[in-house]
């Protein structure tokens, strides 16, 4: 649905995005993460036809965003990181304004707007002036706005920033609901735990370059965590477990951790088998209380994959 090829954007001497290649499949929720100034917003603005790339190209549904700007805009719902509002419009008028701008038929507009207001829980604010809404409500209104023309692709630049925990959870649930409706969603956020829960794919960008793109399982593979396990044995049995496991040919590395009788085990990639590890421990006469693959949080993966260099 979204394809970016060798995309470069420069502002004078500053290279905001450098030869970026990216693909997002239809119906995916793609989490776009990176430090401040990494080039996330610039990439999203290019995809929304608001900026022209210096080099390279970007396609949405097979259409070049530079050449077919107007057609691309019909497909995309873009929510910027900071949403400007028209002070003197009411919520319904504001949404109808954009519905009309996206050529939604007049007779359908009311039902469409009622629907998105219901979806974003703003139906009781229909007659409120836009600038009287709180920050969280304005964010929701922004989300309602991008939905009025039923776009196939949603590009959301930090949609949950400034929201309280409840509103964040609601937005997360809303996005999951939109995914089930078949929308392709590209979302950037600094709250990585949220992305972790809802994104199918993640892209990590730093200094304008994509340092990683793939599923969360692929992050583990990239960080060589896919063949690493944590085990807990009976009290006082950790040293013996290490001794036995280290003598096995398919074990690369084994070490006891702390005082909780926990050990970390790295097994040979080609012979990776959790069952063989369990069998070896039990056959060694020890109690196996727990054995599970090592998990890493997206925050930690982000820290490991990026260097924190700001352009």
């Amino acid at each position: 649905m979204i394809e970016i090829r060798q995309l470069t954007k420069t502002y004078g001497s500053l290279v905001a995005v450098r030869s970026l290649d990216l693909q997002i499949q239809e119906g995916d929720i793609f989490g776009f993460i990176g430090p401040n100034g990494a080039g996330k917003t610039t990439t999203m603005r290019i995809l929304s036809t608001l900026l022209e790339p210096t080099n390279g190209s970007a396609f949405i549904n097979g259409m070049n965003v530079r050449r077919h700007g107007r057609n691309v805009r019909r497909l995309v719902g873009y929510m910027p990181d900071f949403m400007g509002v028209y002070d003197d419009l009411k919520v319904f008028e504001y949404l109808e304004f954009f519905a009309a701008a996206f050529s939604v038929e007049r007779k359908k507009r009311k039902s469409v707007i009622d629907g998105v207001l219901e979806l974003t829980d703003l139906h009781n604010k229909k007659a409120a002036t836009v600038d009287s809404l709180s920050r969280g409500m304005q964010q929701r209104l922004g989300l309602a706005r991008v939905l009025v023309h039923d776009p196939k692709v949603l590009i959301l630049d930090e949609p949950a920033s400034g929201l309280d925990p409840r509103a964040r959870i609601e937005i997360r649930e809303l996005l999951c609901e939109l995914k089930t409706m078949g929308k392709t969603i590209m979302i950037s956020s600094h709250i990585l735990s949220e992305l972790e829960e809802m994104c199918d794919h993640v892209g990590i960008i730093e200094q304008g370059q994509l340092v990683f793109s793939g599923t969360q399982a692929e992050i583990h593979k990239q960080l060589s965590l896919h063949n690493r396990y944590r085990a807990q044995v009976g009290q006082g049995q950790a040293a013996r477990a290490v001794e036995i496991l280290s003598s096995l040919p398919f074990i690369q590395e084994v070490a006891a951790e702390g005082d909780d009788d926990e050990i970390t085990i790295t097994i040979d990639d080609s012979q990776a088998d959790q069952g063989r590890v369990a069998r070896a421990i039990i056959e060694g006469g020890m109690d196996l209380l727990m054995l599970q693959p090592t998990k890493i949080k997206l925050d930690d993966a982000f820290m490991q994959l990026t260097q924190g260099i700001v352009q």
Partner: protein, 631 residues
């Protein structure tokens, strides 16, 4: 005792009045390029006016050698400099102060400042005085020139001191008025326009009305009320400077006799008036800042959300069960004790509210182009509406009074009076169109709503054209006043009907051209104030500066002078005088061969074509630039 003395001395420290604001403002100002550009532009303009004054004071004989009286030249040049300073410093004060408080309020820095021990007085006075320092520097720039020209003779020091003091206090008062509006209005152009309108009323309309009243009193043989005239001199800086200038030219006149004692009093009066304007500023700044900081929600009484009742009650969260792997295994022999019971959760609060209703109170439905609809229907709920209505009513009352006074003196038949009214309305229309056009795109940029608009499939031309329609919608009233004046006086018989056609042609090209230039500058800048100043500067350059330069270069009787819309309005009005012979005095025209109404119509049509072409070119440039500098 010593500490008490120190405290008393502390009361008189200048720092006490301004706090750290003064230093901060000076520091910030010194780092802004625009102030250096401002000084450069000021010097260039000053030099231009001095050159003009010199050329007007010097006569050349047939051999090409100059023949002039040094003292006359010196007086003319010094008068030019002082009046230039008087006008330009007030305009600069308006621009400098128009954003002084609003910027801080809307960036949130004012609210932060109010949490410090800095007092409101220090904020207001500190800001005003720091800007006065900038103006003082501009005054000082021309001081060496004044000193040099004084060598020519005939100019007393007293005049230079008086003129500088009158100028500075007038600028201070104008700056205080601009600051007052800056607290009330977010946009700089609103403050600029309202300050200019206030200046127009205080310094022009009111004196004119007073002058007419004096004239009526004189005609009624009761003589001009001396006290009223004195009051006008004390409170009107332009009158004060006028009397100072008169006294320099004719030292023995009545004005000269009064000058020595009245100008310091006038300065004190202006300082008092400045303090009078600053007082409400001091009281308002905190309230306005805090209202902004805490949001505007309180200003809009919203109905209690009716869906609260229909929303499912939030059940208390249940503590998650610990996964077995992380649960510590009970040691041998230790009896498994049940975990302590959590405290009972309070019952869910039930809010009884009215049932949900599909309320659409005051919501208007959009028909046709959404952008056109927005341009035509919005702007009615803007803040400051009451202030605008009050000002509008005052202006209308003053204009009506002016008509009555002019009518009672039988002046309305005069072509000069008609030209005065028509030019006044024309300037209001031009000003209104210029400002509105220049704010259209830049306001969308400032509020960050332009990127959202540009992400819709609306075409760039559609956006530009609807913006133009919106400008027409907001400015039609000013043009209607002009046409209404002409219509009324045509019916009365004071003007010929052809003037309506001429003026319509003028209004059409003015709108096309000024909307084009305004939208172009608006697309160039992110800041509304920069766009407004550029657009107005552009108008001044092509219709004032270039004709003046043309005059210097001996091209005064050329097409450049005729290109000026004010000149065109004056020529067609005088030409259409009811009792006149229909002579249209175009620059460069042959006086023997009277320029006819038909010829003038052709001229006006050609101007319409030329300016409209330029206007559409500028509109196209605005369209090209629309997607640039979005962020």
């Amino acid at each position: 005792m010593t500490s008490r003395i120190r405290t008393i001395i502390g009361w008189f420290k200048p720092n006490r009045l301004t706090g750290p604001i003064f230093t901060k403002e000076l520091r910030v100002t010194s780092r802004q390029k625009r102030h250096y550009l401002l000084r450069f532009a000021y010097i260039m303009l000053l030099s231009l006016f001095v050159l003009l004054a010199w050329l007007s004071a010097v006569d050349y004989d047939s051999t090409g050698s100059s023949m002039y009286r040094m003292s006359d030249a010196g007086k003319t040049i010094i008068m030019t400099i002082t009046w230039f300073q008087f006008v330009s410093l007030q305009l600069i004060a308006i621009v400098l102060m128009s954003t002084s408080v609003s910027e801080e309020i809307y960036r949130g820095t004012m609210a932060a400042m109010l949490t410090t021990p800095i007092t409101r007085t220090q904020i207001i006075v500190g800001k005003l005085l720091s800007k006065m320092v900038q103006l003082g520097i501009l005054l000082l720039i021309s001081l060496p020139l004044l000193s040099v020209v004084r060598i020519f003779g005939g100019v007393p020091w007293n005049y230079i001191i008086a003129a500088n003091c009158v100028t500075l206090t007038a600028a201070m008062f104008t700056g205080a008025v601009a600051m007052f509006y800056s607290i009330l209005f977010r946009r700089a152009y609103s403050s600029i326009l309202l300050t200019l309108a206030t200046g127009l009323v205080l310094y022009m309309i009111l004196p004119l009305i007073l002058g007419l009243i004096f004239l009526l009193a004189t005609l009624a043989s009761s003589g001009p009320p001396e006290l009223a005239m004195m009051v006008m001199l004390y409170v009107n800086p332009s009158s004060a400077l006028g009397v100072c200038t008169m006294s320099m030219y004719s030292p023995g006149s009545m004005a000269a006799g009064r000058m020595s004692f009245y100008w310091p009093i006038h300065c004190l009066v202006m300082l008092g008036l400045t303090a009078g304007v600053l007082t409400p500023c001091i009281f308002m700044v905190r309230r306005v800042s805090l209202r902004r900081a805490f949001g505007k929600a309180a200003n809009y009484p919203l109905p209690l959300p009716p869906t609260l009742a229909s929303r499912p009650a939030v059940s208390p969260p249940t503590p998650p069960a610990l996964p077995p792997a992380t649960q510590p295994a009970p040691s041998a022999g230790q009896a498994a004790t049940p975990p302590p019971m959590p405290p009972p959760m309070p019952p869910p609060v039930v809010v009884v509210v009215p049932a949900a209703t599909d309320t659409m109170t005051g919501v208007r439905r959009i028909t046709g182009s959404p952008l056109l609809w927005k341009q035509l229907h919005t702007g009615k709920r803007l803040s400051g509406k009451t202030v605008r209505i009050v000002f509008g009513c005052i202006a209308m009352a003053l204009i009506l009074l002016l008509y009555i006074l002019m009518g009672s003196l039988d002046f309305l038949k005069e072509s000069g009076t008609q030209a005065f009214f028509i030019i006044m309305y024309l300037l209001v229309g031009m000003f209104s169109t210029s400002v509105n056009a220049a704010t259209t795109i830049s306001t969308e940029k400032e509020t960050r709503s332009l990127p959202i608009l540009m992400a819709t499939p609306l075409s760039d031309w559609h956006i530009i054209i609807t913006f133009a329609a919106g400008i027409l919608r907001r400015t039609w009233m000013a043009w209607l006043l002009l046409l209404a004046h002409i219509l009324v006086f045509t019916i009365v018989g004071y003007l010929k009907p052809i003037l309506l056609l001429h003026m319509l042609l003028l209004i059409v090209w003015l709108n096309v051209f000024m909307i084009g230039s305004g939208l172009y500058f608006s697309s160039c800048y992110k800041k509304t104030t920069a766009a407004v100043i550029s657009n107005m500067g552009f108008g001044l350059a092509i219709w004032l500066i270039i004709p003046i330069l043309a005059g210097i270069l001996g091209m005064g009787e050329s097409i450049i002078v005729n290109a000026n819309p004010v000149m065109q309005a004056a020529i067609v009005t005088v030409g259409a005088e009811g009792d006149g012979n229909g002579f249209y005095d175009w620059a460069g025209g042959n006086y023997d061969d009277t320029e006819t109404a038909a010829k003038t119509t052709l001229f006006m049509f050609l101007w319409l074509l030329g300016y409209s072409a330029a206007g559409f070119l500028l509109l196209w440039r605005a369209k090209v630039r629309l997607r640039r500098k979005l962020f």
